[in-house]
Symmetry: C2
Subunit: 173 residues, 2 copies
């Protein structure tokens, strides 16, 4: 869509400064060139404006599509969860338990497909970028290692969505 | 960022055709104008190119942000669901039931905030844009009305994510 600026200024089309010898032909040619560049400029500026407007609309549609994809994936989870709630009235504990475990697996699978991974750092060295230390406790484990995970953390791709909340081994007494 | 094309072509700057009287001064002025327009053109073309590249990167980041927002909202639902699964081993049925109902409410609330609404058309006229008829059955209800909802449907905003699966009243015998 956009003209290539390099093409417009090819050496054949653009005269050198020494052409400025003041003939009527030169003036007519320069006017034509000047008007051509002005037209190029106006056209690309108008295209740019239209493009920006279109992008603003697209951006909304993109967010909408991403939301729809995930929400549509959650509908079976919602169905199964509703079924589990009803099942408490009609079935025994073991039967309902199966249903709830199924919902848990379905939601876990869906979130893994979106790129979710667990941060479960038991025994690893404490890492402030991925862990939040709630307590230090004396321990036989190496100083600064995670000795208990109180709440698992989660990463989406590379990004830490929620740090793991942990207890860290204190220095030996 | 983009120059206004209207400003560039103001009547003071652009000479009329009658100026083409072939003086050296005219030629020098025309060359300056031509070069100025060419520079404008090249600059806006380069800006346009950069903008397009930036937009391609932004688009990905936008999808990522939308995904992160929803997934982050689902983490407490996942936590509670995991807690409910564990609770089956340790608590009585009533206690677990409360937990599962809580998860169901939390997920429903989250999805409603994303714009999800139920399609539950019991008693309404059948609408092929929102309902899927699985059966027709003789009924005392008006012909073509929905007499049973086998599976609720869902809309996200205006868009039907899943039609309600229904049984429709057949014509009277």
């Amino acid at each position: 869509m956009t003209d290539d600026p390099e093409r417009v200024v090819s050496s054949e089309e653009v005269p050198s400064a020494s052409d400025a010898d003041g003939t009527t032909a030169d003036v007519a040619r320069l006017e034509a060139e000047r008007d051509e560049y002005l037209n190029h400029y106006r056209r690309v500026a108008a295209e740019f404006d239209n493009y920006k407007k279109r992008i603003a609309r697209d951006q909304q549609a993109t967010v909408q599509r991403a939301t729809e994809r995930i929400v549509a994936g959650l509908l079976p989870v919602l169905d199964d969860l509703e079924r589990a709630v009803t099942a408490f009235e009609e079935h025994d504990k073991e039967h309902v338990q199966e249903g709830v475990e199924l919902v848990h697996r379905a939601l876990t699978t869906l979130l893994q497909k979106e790129g979710l991974t667990e941060i479960d750092p038991l025994g690893e060295p404490f890492d402030p970028h991925q862990h939040e230390a709630l307590l230090q406790q004396p321990s036989e484990a190496p100083e600064g290692s995670v000795i208990q995970v109180l709440q698992k953390g989660f990463r989406l791709g590379e990004h830490v969505l929620r740090p793991a909340r942990v207890i860290v081994a204190a220095p030996a007494e």
